[in-house]
């Protein structure tokens, strides 16, 4: 039974999986299956050579998962717009994970370039999934530009640091109710993904944490369970945090009234 949707596509799984860096196409295929991922990311590379990817792309195309092409490597809105159009032609999908990077060391999204490209791509008929920071106002401007989904970072791409600013992510969730929010980037461990889900995020997109695991297939399964557990916790209602202890056993003061 579908539990959520992205751009009108019903999905059971809240785990979106990247496809780069796996030891073999077979391991990638098994990881996608173990994750239960229904959306996987792909990319484009400037190359003339037809061979050389060892069948990874062919495997991804036949995995049954919906493809979400990205604009990885783009540094300007113009580059991202051109790459998005090329991705649409090659993958036959209007979905695009929009990446416009503004800093070489952190690979932090450029909010201005991302917004400029998003507005153009929405006008061109794309379903834009912007990779963005957790800045609330930047996110609001992306929604104003026509984005229906937001993908704020948890931490820099590939860093595995987890959610560096839970307050900002919690604020996004509180201020943007009803908007599908997917934490994209920086997730390193299943507990990070569970935390994102407990914050009320709708999904998690990750790649390196699975691809670089000693056993990617087992890690994909672990992430799927963590995401399910975290979402379950959010839906059940996590208790309010207290600064001091609050006794749970309903005793009346101390057990013995002995002076």
């Amino acid at each position: 039974m579908a539990v959520w949707s992205l751009h009108g596509v019903a999905l059971d799984s809240r785990l979106l999986l990247g496809t780069a860096g796996y030891p073999s196409p077979q391991v990638l295929r098994e990881a996608i299956a173990a994750a239960g991922a229904q959306v996987v990311t792909v990319g484009l590379r400037r190359t003339l050579a037809a061979a050389g990817d060892n069948g990874f792309v062919a495997m991804v195309r036949t995995s049954g998962a919906r493809l979400l092409p990205n604009t990885a490597g783009c540094r300007t809105a113009r580059e991202a717009v051109a790459l998005a159009h090329m991705a649409r032609e090659l993958f036959g999908s209007t979905w695009i994970k929009l990446e416009v990077v503004g800093d070489e060391h952190t690979l932090q999204p450029d909010p201005w370039g991302t917004l400029e490209a998003a507005a153009r791509l929405v006008r061109d008929g794309f379903a834009v999934f912007p990779y963005c920071t957790d800045d609330l106002v930047s996110c609001q401007r992306l929604l104003d530009a026509g984005c229906e989904v937001l993908m704020p970072w948890g931490a820099p791409i590939g860093s595995g640091q987890g959610l560096l600013n839970p307050w900002a992510l919690r604020t996004l969730r509180a201020r943007l109710p009803g908007v599908p929010l997917v934490v994209d980037a920086g997730i390193g461990a299943p507990s990070h993904a569970a935390q994102a889900m407990e914050l009320g995020f709708d999904g998690v997109l990750l790649n390196s944490a699975v691809a670089q695991a000693r056993d990617p297939v087992a890690m994909a399964r672990a992430f799927a369970r963590a995401i399910e557990a975290g979402r379950g916790g959010f839906e059940a209602g996590v208790m309010a945090r207290q600064d001091m202890a609050v006794a749970s056993t309903p005793v009346t003061g101390r057990p013995f009234l002995i002076p």
Partner: protein
């Protein structure tokens, strides 16, 4: 003697051929046109526009293929 006019394809300089279009350039370098996407001077050139998009001296043609990605 002036230098021969060239075009660049993925960083490689090739002689410019008068009257050649994007589709012709792909054929000249042996690239199967249905497996790549193209941009001319940074602007997307759709598959159905390649035969109508001429190359000029100094043009930069970029050819992309699908890969795995995050």
């Amino acid at each position: 003697m002036p230098a021969e006019p060239t075009v660049q394809i993925n960083g490689e300089r090739l002689p410019w051929v008068a009257g050649e279009h994007v589709a012709g350039a792909l054929a000249r370098i042996g690239v199967a046109s249905d497996q790549v996407a193209t941009a001319l001077n940074g602007e997307f050139v759709a598959r159905n526009r390649r035969a109508a998009t001429p190359l000029a001296p100094g043009d930069v043609l970029t050819v992309f293929r699908p890969i795995v990605g995050g």
